[in-house]
């Protein structure tokens, strides 16, 4: 797992962006670089301009279907892992279905531990696949 993990959070809700920034900033033993975007287009622009290890995408982003966002991230930055987030029960009831072509799914509301353990699991899995 990389010592500095570059994270991008794309969500229309300011509280989610701030909460995730706070949660990942305070985890001491691993360094996180957290960037945020409150629209799909802004997020995609950041993906094009920077490199991220993992991108969190809200399931119900306004203006663009979340699966389309995931597809474009995959095309732009194949090395980045993508995680979908949602608080809708229709999505949380079937996380595998909701995740679709994403690497993981995070049910809202979540705890710091759930975020970090998911990042750890996904990145470990990815490094294992590369090896």
């Amino acid at each position: 797992m990389p010592r500095t993990i570059r994270v991008l959070v794309i969500d229309g809700e300011e509280i989610i962006l701030k909460s995730m920034s706070r949660a990942l900033r305070s985890e001491g033993d691993v360094d996180y670089m957290v960037a945020t975007a409150n629209t799909a287009l802004e997020g995609l622009r950041q993906v094009r301009s920077s490199i991220f290890d993992i991108v969190f995408v809200d399931y119900a982003l306004p203006g663009m279907n979340s699966r389309e966002v995931v597809r474009r991230i995959r095309n732009t930055s194949p090395s980045a892992s993508v995680v979908l987030m949602s608080g809708f029960s229709s999505a949380t009831a079937f996380p595998n279905e909701a995740a679709g072509n994403a690497d993981g799914f995070l049910s809202k509301p979540f705890t710091t531990g759930e975020i970090t353990s998911l990042i750890s699991r996904i990145l470990t899995q990815r490094s294992g696949n590369k090896a």
Binding site: I16, K18, S19, G87, S89, K108, T112, G113
Partner: protein, 521 residues
């Protein structure tokens, strides 16, 4: 009123069957009556013929002696006497040349009857020139239906007494003695030769009017009787069907119409016959429909509530995430005082409770099918433990695990099953305010082909009534806990029912209070 297609006029089943029965009876009895009448007419005419023949034969025997002796006045007198009898219209005697020699009608005497006449044509088939065709049909009779007369004729056969008679002769008037006996010396010419077969005919006219009148009366009676029977049978059938079939069918139709309009309130009276069974089935169907409708309404309500809850849950989830993460962040700060830390613990605990409550409510309203996968149950249990173990409620609870290795995989929806384990962990945390040791173990019960996941509290803090409710598989009610445990338990039961699993209270070590989840392998 029932709608009739194609502009046909509505005819009830009772009317149709009654008309059909009436027509069948009319046709059947009409045919039967006609055959009977024809037979009766035939028999009557036949009897009349026989009696006329008998009369003719008797007349011939009576008159034979007079004829042999050529007593013409006696013959005429006898014929008049016979005609005076009831029903006998006329008697006449013809010789073999067709000349009427004697008749009750004087005007006919000495008239010649052509061989083409019905009387002669029986034997002389060629008219006036025809020869005798047969002698087997000499006796004949004919019914004149129009006038009601039977004509019977019978032959007067030649016999030795006829052609040998010494008195029945033709002789010159001069040679005849005064007393009528021929003198021995005279030349005698017999009237009839021995070669003649038939010397003449006796024809008798008998009135058949009485018989015809009787037959006509019988015919009329039969027609009236047939009509009366047909009408009576039709009427009886009509009212019987109307009462026994039409009435129950009308009730069924009315019932169907009511049901179609959404009225399930009234049941149809049932009975012991086929239509009664049909009414029973209808009532059963109506009850089933009512039940299904209630379930549908309930489902629609649930679906509406579910959609509403889903939206609210999503709205809540964002600020709740902020509350949880910021509170966790505050707690993580080492410079926080004890009282502040305690307050943050309360905030985090309540936020987590809210999160579980929202998820449970969504689980209750959601009726989605589980997404089954065959997996190892242990990671699901461990993930649920990971989610809760950092929560303030679990700070004083030490969770120990004792998982059997190489458990067979089970077919579960991991997300749903994790919810079961989370709910059970929350139930234990609520009931272990002082903390303690919560042991979670899993094992395979080979005999029953099932896996057990046991949550055991060594301090035995779980309320006895909760364990009792779980043991008896009944709804748990605890007014003091505002229903949280009840909802959690209800969700567990629903999810396990979908997995053909169950939850039960354990009967483990005496010091333990345990809840066990069973899953079929």
């Amino acid at each position: 009123m029932m709608k009739i297609p194609f502009g046909l006029k509505y005819i009830s089943i009772s009317t149709r069957i009654s008309i059909l029965l009436g027509v069948v009876i009319l046709v059947t009895m009409g045919a039967f009556s006609t055959i009977s009448l024809i037979r009766q007419q035939h028999d009557s005419v036949d009897a009349l013929n026989r009696s006329t023949l008998l009369l003719g034969q008797t007349t011939e025997k009576i008159l034979r002696l007079s004829m042999i002796k050529n007593k013409r006045d006696d013959i005429s007198a006898a014929i008049r006497d016979i005609v005076g009898s009831e029903g006998i219209r006329s008697v006449r005697i013809l010789n073999h040349e067709g000349i009427i020699k004697f008749s009750s009608r004087r005007s006919e005497l000495e008239q010649h009857i052509s061989r083409a006449n019905r009387l002669c044509a029986n034997c002389h088939t060629g008219g006036d020139t025809g020869a005798v065709h047969t002698v087997s049909r000499f006796y004949s009779h004919h019914l004149d239906e129009r006038n009601g007369i039977v004509y019977s004729s019978l032959p007067i056969y030649n016999s030795p007494s006829c052609y040998n008679s010494d008195c029945h002769i033709t002789a010159s008037a001069e040679a005849r003695s005064n007393n009528g006996r021929p003198a021995a010396a005279q030349i005698v010419h017999h009237v009839h030769s021995s070669s003649e077969t038939i010397l003449g005919f006796i024809e008798i006219e008998v009135s058949a009017k009485r018989i015809m009148a009787n037959l006509a009366r019988t015919r009329s009676q039969l027609i009236i009787l047939t009509i009366v029977i047909a009408v009576a049978a039709s009427a009886i059938t009509y009212f019987s069907i109307r009462y026994l079939v039409g009435k129950p069918v009308r009730r069924l139709v009315d019932g169907m119409r009511r049901v179609a309009q959404g009225d399930f309130s009234r049941e149809i009276p049932s009975g012991r016959a086929e239509l009664g069974f049909l009414a029973d089935s209808f009532n059963q169907m109506q009850r089933q429909l009512l039940s299904t409708q209630s379930q549908l309404i309930e489902s629609e309500k649930l679906a509406s509530v579910g959609k509403l809850a889903d939206g609210i849950a999503n709205e809540i989830s964002n600020p709740l995430t902020g509350i949880i993460i910021y509170t966790e962040s505050l707690i993580a700060k080492s410079k926080l005082g004890d009282s502040e830390r305690a307050e943050c613990d309360i905030i985090l605990r309540e936020a987590m409770k809210t999160r579980e409550s929202v998820r449970n409510i969504l689980s209750l309203t959601r009726k989605d099918k589980p997404e089954f996968r065959t997996v190892d149950i242990v990671p699901t249990v461990r993930h649920a433990i990971t989610v809760v173990e950092k929560l303030p409620d679990f700070r004083n609870i030490r969770i120990t695990t004792s998982m059997q290795r190489d458990l067979p995989h089970v077919s579960i929806d991991p997300g749903m099953m994790e919810q079961v384990f989370l709910n059970l962990l929350m139930i234990f945390s609520e009931n272990m305010p002082e903390g303690g040791i919560l042991n979670i173990s899993s094992l395979l019960v080979e005999k029953d082909r099932k896996i057990e996941i046991r949550f055991a509290d060594a301090g035995k803090t779980i309320p006895e009534n909760l364990l009792q409710a779980i043991a008896e598989q009944i709804e748990y009610r605890d007014s003091e806990k505002i229903g949280r445990t009840e909802i959690s338990l209800s969700v567990c039961k629903d999810i396990l029912a979908l997995h053909r699993g169950k939850i039960r209270a354990g009967a483990g070590a005496e010091a333990e209070a345990s809840i066990i989840v069973e899953l079929a392998v």
